[in-house]
Symmetry: C2
Subunit: 318 residues, 2 copies
C-alpha cells in the first residue's frame, strides 16, 4: 500500500500492538515508541510488545508504551522488521496475524496482510515521520524517539544514507523542541571505559599489510576476558580498524565465545579495490561487496592464515 | 546590514578578495570557497587569499580559488573571522580596508565597513547558504565546501548547534548531488594511526576520581615523542576523556612543548555540577562554565596537584 492508504488504515483501526525486531536497535524501538504515541494522539489505544533484549541505551524510549501481559489487541503492526524470523520469541502468538508491516529494508520479505515498504529511506522512523505529516499529528514526546531512530540508523548523519530527506525529517522533529543534543551525546559521544580499554588493546595488537591499506584486528577470548567486554562493547568492533587513515580494507577475527574452536571473520572493504563478499565466499561465507563475513574452524592463527590467503587471491584478480 | 542588503551588496560590487581566519577550520575555508564560487557564478571575479597554515584536511576545498600574489581586488570580504587579530599575517595589507564581514560568532568585534553577523547560526557556511537562496545561485562545486563548513562546525550534526536550520541547509546542499558521505568519512570517520596510538596510551594512563565522574588525562612530552603526535593529532585531545561513560568532568594536562617547565590544563565540565571557569580561575585562568583552561608553572605532578586541589575546592562549594 502507499503512504496515503497506510495513513487511512491507521485512522480506521484501533487497539494496536506494535512489534519490534530482536536485538532491537534505536530505529525499531524509536519507530515503535513514536508510532505508539502518535496513534494515542489520534485517540487510539496503542501499546508496544515488551522488548526483552533491549539494552539500556534504547529501552528508555519505550517508557509508558509497553503492553501489559493481558492486553488483547485488534491490530498488529510490525516496524523495521524485515522478515518474520527477526521477530523476538514473545511475538510468537502474533505470527500470521500481523496486519501491517512498515519497513525500510529493501530486502523486506512480505509476511503481513498490508505492507508499506520504502527501501530508500535511511530509517523506518523516516517513514513514520512521513506518515505523521500525512496524518497531521506530532508531539515532542513522539518526536524524540523518532529522531533517535533516524540518528542511530545513519550514524548521526555521517553515513551515505543521510540524504536530503533524512535531514529534513530530522529538522522537522527537532522543531518540536526535543533534547536532540542529549540524545546525540548518549548514542554518539559516549563510550564505556571497558570499550575504550578494548580499543586500546585492539590497536596495540593490530597488524597492517599491503603498505598499511589492510588492517587486521583480533578479538580473542582472552582479550574479552581481560577487558570484561560485553556483547554491546563488541557491537561495532568490525568498524574500528576501518577508521584508520590509509586503511582500505579491515579484517576483524573474533574467536567464538563458546570456545568451540572456530572464529568469525568480518571483512570491510573499499569496494573500489576489493569485493569483500568474494573474499568471504572463498571460505564459505558471503555478504555485500563492502561488508561480508565468514566462519572458519580452527585457532585464531589458522583463521588469520585462511583469510589472508583469500584476500591475497582476490587482490591478485583486481 | 541584513541578509537582503548583503545580497544587494554582493550583486553590486566586483573583483572580490575573500579572507579566512588563522589556523583555519572547515567553516572559514568552506565559507570562503563557497562564496568565491557563487560570486563567479554571478559573473564576478573572485579569489581567496592564500591560507598558508591550512592543513590538508581542508586546503583542498580552495582548489582553483586561491588568489595570485599580484591580484588587485576592489572588494575585501572576511568570512568566519570574529575579530581583526584572528586574520593571518598575509592579510596585513588589507587591515582597515575590509568592506564586508560575514560571521556567525556572537562575540564578533566589528572591524569591517559592513557586517552581516548571525550569531545563532551553527556555521558561517549556513549564512553563505542563506545568501545563496537570496541570490538564487548554487552549484555542486560551491555546495560541497559549504556542506563541509557546516558539518565540521557542528560535529556532523551531533552538537547542540545542530538545529533545524542547520539540517535544512545541509539538505538543500546535499540535493546539489555533492559527495557528502566522502566528506563525512574524511572529517569524521578517519583517524591517523598516530592518533589512535596516542589515545590508546592516554587511556591506559588515565586516572579517575570521585567514583569515576572525574577523568584526568596527561599528555607528557615523552608521550608526544613516543607516538610522534603532531599538533593536529593533539587538536581535540581535551575531549577524549569527556566521552567516557559516567565522566562528568574531564581534565587534560599538557606539558609545554618547549620544555619551559609549565603545563597547560584544560577542564571540560558538566556545567550542571561544576563551573570549569571557576576551577581554572583559581589558577589564574578562565573560560566558559563548560570549558576552561589555565597554565601552571611546574612539573606534571605539580600541575596535577594544583588542578585537583582547585577542583576539590569548587566541588565543595556545590
Amino acid at each position: 500500500m502507499d503512504r496515503t492508504a497506510c495513513a487511512a488504515f491507521l485512522r480506521q483501526r484501533d487497539n494496536y500492538l506494535i512489534l519490534t525486531h530482536q536485538r532491537p536497535d534505536g530505529d525499531t524501538i524509536g519507530s515503535a515508541a513514536g508510532l505508539c504515541l502518535l496513534l494515542r494522539q489520534m485517540g487510539k489505544t496503542a501499546w508496544v510488545l515488551p522488548s526483552l533484549d533491549a539494552n539500556q541505551l534504547v529501552s528508555g524510549y519505550l517508557e509508558g508504551c509497553v503492553a501489559a501481559e493481558d492486553y488483547v489487541p485488534d491490530t498488529i503492526v510490525a516496524v523495521d522488521v524485515a522478515s518474520l524470523k527477526l521477530l523476538p520469541p514473545n511475538a510468537e502468538p502474533y505470527l500470521g496475524k500481523i496486519d501491517l508491516a512498515i519497513d525500510h529494508h529493501p530486502s523486506h520479505t512480505p509476511y503481513a496482510k498490508e505492507v508499506l515498504v520504502e527501501g530508500d529511506r535511511a530509517a523506518c522512523a523516516v517513514i513514520i515521520w512521513e506518515l505523521s505529516q500525512e496524518l497531521g499529528v506530532m508531539t515532542p514526546e513522539a518526536a524524540a524517539p523518532l529522531y533517535a531512530g533516524i540518528a542511530t540508523d545513519c550514524g548521526c548523519f555521517v553515513y551515505p544514507n543521510s540524504d536530503a530527506r533524512t535531514h529534513r525529517a530530522a529538522a522537522s522533529l527537532i522543531e518540536q523542541g526535543i533534547p536532540f543534543a542529549e540524545i546525540n551525546k548518549r548514542h554518539f559521544r559516549t563510550k564505556t571505559r571497558t570499550k575504550l580499554h578494548l580499543e586500546s588493546l585492539l590497536f596495540q595488537q593490530m597488524e597492517f599489510y599491503h603498505d598499511g591499506t589492510v588492517a587486521l584486528a583480533t578479538v580473542s577470548r582472552a582479550l574479552v576476558a581481560q577487558t570484561g567486554a560485553t556483547p554491546e562493547d563488541l557491537d561495532d568492533v568490525a568498524a574500528f580498524a576501518g577508521q584508520i587513515e590509509g586503511v582500505r580494507h579491515a579484517i576483524t577475527i573474533k574467536e567464538a565465545e563458546d570456545g568451540d574452536g572456530s572464529c568469525h571473520i568480518s571483512v570491510r572493504a573499499d569496494a573500489n579495490y576489493l569485493n569483500a563478499s568474494a573474499v568471504c565466499a572463498r571460505l564459505g561465507g558471503g555478504g555485500h561487496s563492502a561488508a561480508a563475513g565468514c566462519s572458519v574452524k580452527g585457532t585464531i592463527a589458522e583463521a588469520k592464515a585462511a583469510i589472508l590467503a583469500a584476500l591475497e587471491a582476490e587482490l591478485a584478480l583486481q
